[in-house]
Subunit: 364 residues, 2 copies
């Protein structure tokens, strides 16, 4: 197979973010698909330390700059877990240097930035994907079967998504996600992003018509969102609510209610366990004769995952890159579309948070 | 014991509503506490049929009017499952005739009506309780222990409550809950009431400062709410969202998120099974080192119920009535307070639904 010659896709990592540890492990788990060929940090010693601590192969190059990674001909693709405020510059530059792009979320501070990144990818024929893992887990495909089944689920009417965690005082004081100049989208960009993505996924990526932030967001002294909620509204009357917060115990729920069925997840973004993930479903639920109990109860499904979801993401990314490199295939655009719709929805919620909870139209 | 002489409390039922079947069974299950001594319907034959179909004792009187039940000296207390629009007239009259009152929800079309009912109860020294069962289930006491534990749950921050069911076309066309002149509060009064009650219960009945309805409510042609959502906001920054709908598969969720703990229920108002009820909790949840899974998972608790929750409600009601009758005790006011706060919150949401989703203050 022609593909074999271009696999594994050689990945260069920009920065030594915490999440790059998780991705480094994942890369090691699928050596036939991807390999780490370089890492760059503004601090060469930090990069050296990171490479050693995360089992990088001896062949992986360690650079004291991001530029050096982009200039390395031995790098096919960039994994970019940099603070969001740096994405525009470095993602555009990477694309211009013909590097395929796997960008951590939130991908941009505003859709105008994302559009510049996507345009650079398009102009240079490189694959774009964001680092959201949800859709790569086999659970998602299994749930999709249920949601698409008109007899089992009917029409989607309501989506409720909640992702919170209790950040430490140190995190709240120092993490980049609390800093306007780094990840200025705060909790909305970090965990709200996942809520939005889960909602859009459930809605088959039909864009809501408008968003309304709920009263009572919590902003830190620098004005960054630490906690907020919003509702989303579609043309057909579907609605979604989401809540994201750095101030509450780890909770990670998605509830989907259709005319005939209901689906629950309590670990939608990171499953409780790596090897399998659960969801519960119920169809045509009702009460018994005297309404003293339910005639049917929801049932649980378990979906085995042979590989962690981040490995599956890497496999899909490398497959697309390999197709481009070996077969002259065009980049797969759907991942850019998913990213852009997530960003548009996030931008609208953010605007509503800051404009006094006014309705903000979402225009694709 | 003095109480024994006044027990069982003799109950007269007004009307032959569907839910009265459930309550009739419950009365039969706790014969030492309550007994059915009369039923009245505008149609004597309907009442006769109902009494026969629901195993009423031969001693139970069957009347062709509500008045006759209220005038029966052999009736201590009225169970009132009438359409809400009739509550004001009949509940006030019952109280004036010294009958204790167990009133189905929604208890009134507006708090001004409820206040008239509560005033009549107060003036006549009779016990008032509404028919909401949630708080009578032993699960609630067990969950309360968790919520009150500052180490396990911390401070309550977010409440999400969702109660929907897929009403049949016949229900949507003909049920009293779709008729402005009968149960004009529609889905908000029927199942939204339970969402609100669950939320207030979770918040220890601290009244929210204000309510905001979410865009996108569904009204029927007569203007009755068939589906709606809202958010509630407290002085301390706590928020709640609720969603109620007659147009979606049966779903009955409460999620409570505190600074340290999370609690989930999926059958909060009517447990899946009569004999036990589940809830899940998690404290200080977090991810493992690489965030590839959770270091701790939520755990499930099962609470056995020796009696159905409606029996426990009847036992509590009869205990209070017996205390009044035998010991000259004063009526227990907390049940009126719970009812009134539920009503105030519901009224505010309704106002917001109809005023274009403006913020509506809730003033106790």
């Amino acid at each position: 197979m022609a593909e074999l010659s271009v696999l594994p896709v050689k990945i260069g990592i920009l920065g030594c973010a915490e999440i790059a540890r998780k991705l480094s492990r994942a890369i090691h788990l699928v050596p036939e698909d991807v390999s780490i060929s370089a890492i760059g940090s503004r601090s060469a010693s930090k990069a050296t330390q990171f490479a050693a601590a995360n089992g990088f192969p001896a062949s992986a190059k360690v650079y004291g700059s991001y530029d050096a990674v982009l200039d390395d001909p031995d790098v096919d693709a960039i994994y970019m877990p940099l603070p969001t405020s740096l994405h525009l510059k470095w993602a555009v530059l990477a694309a211009q240097k013909q590097k395929h792009l796997l960008v951590e979320k939130p991908v941009a501070l505003h859709v105008t930035e994302l559009d510049a990144i996507l345009e650079a990818c398009e102009d240079n024929g490189v694959q774009y994907m964001d680092g959201t893992m949800l859709q790569h887990h086999p659970r998602s495909a299994k749930m999709r079967e249920f949601l698409d089944d008109k007899e089992q689920f009917g029409e989607l009417r309501s989506i409720i998504s909640c992702f919170t965690f209790a950040a430490s005082p140190d995190y709240l004081a120092n993490n980049i996600r609390t800093k306007p100049d780094l990840d200025g989208l705060g909790a909305l960009g970090d965990i709200g992003w996942h809520c939005i993505r889960s909602i859009l996924w459930a809605a088959d990526f039909e864009l809501p018509k408008f968003a309304v932030a709920l009263p009572g967001p919590v902003l830190n002294k620098a004005g960054v969102i630490i906690s907020c909620g919003a509702s989303l509204h579609w043309e057909d009357g579907k609605t979604a609510t989401l809540h994201c917060s750095f101030l509450e115990n780890l909770t990670m729920d998605v509830t989907l209610v259709g005319t005939k069925g209901t689906l629950h997840m309590h670990d939608f973004n990171i499953p409780f366990e790596e090897s399998r993930a659960m969801f519960s479903t119920g169809t045509n639920l009702g009460f018994n004769d005297l309404s003293t109990g339910w005639s049917l109860k929801p049932s649980e499904d378990a979906v085995a995952a042979d590989l962690p979801q981040e490995c599956l993401m890497l496999k899909e990314f490398s497959r697309l890159v390999a197709n481009i490199k070996s077969k002259g295939a065009k980049p797969e655009k759907k991942w850019a579309t998913y990213s852009r719709k997530t960003q548009l929805t996030m931008d609208a919620i953010k605007e509503s948070v800051y404009n006094g909870f006014q309705k903000v139209d979402i225009v694709g």
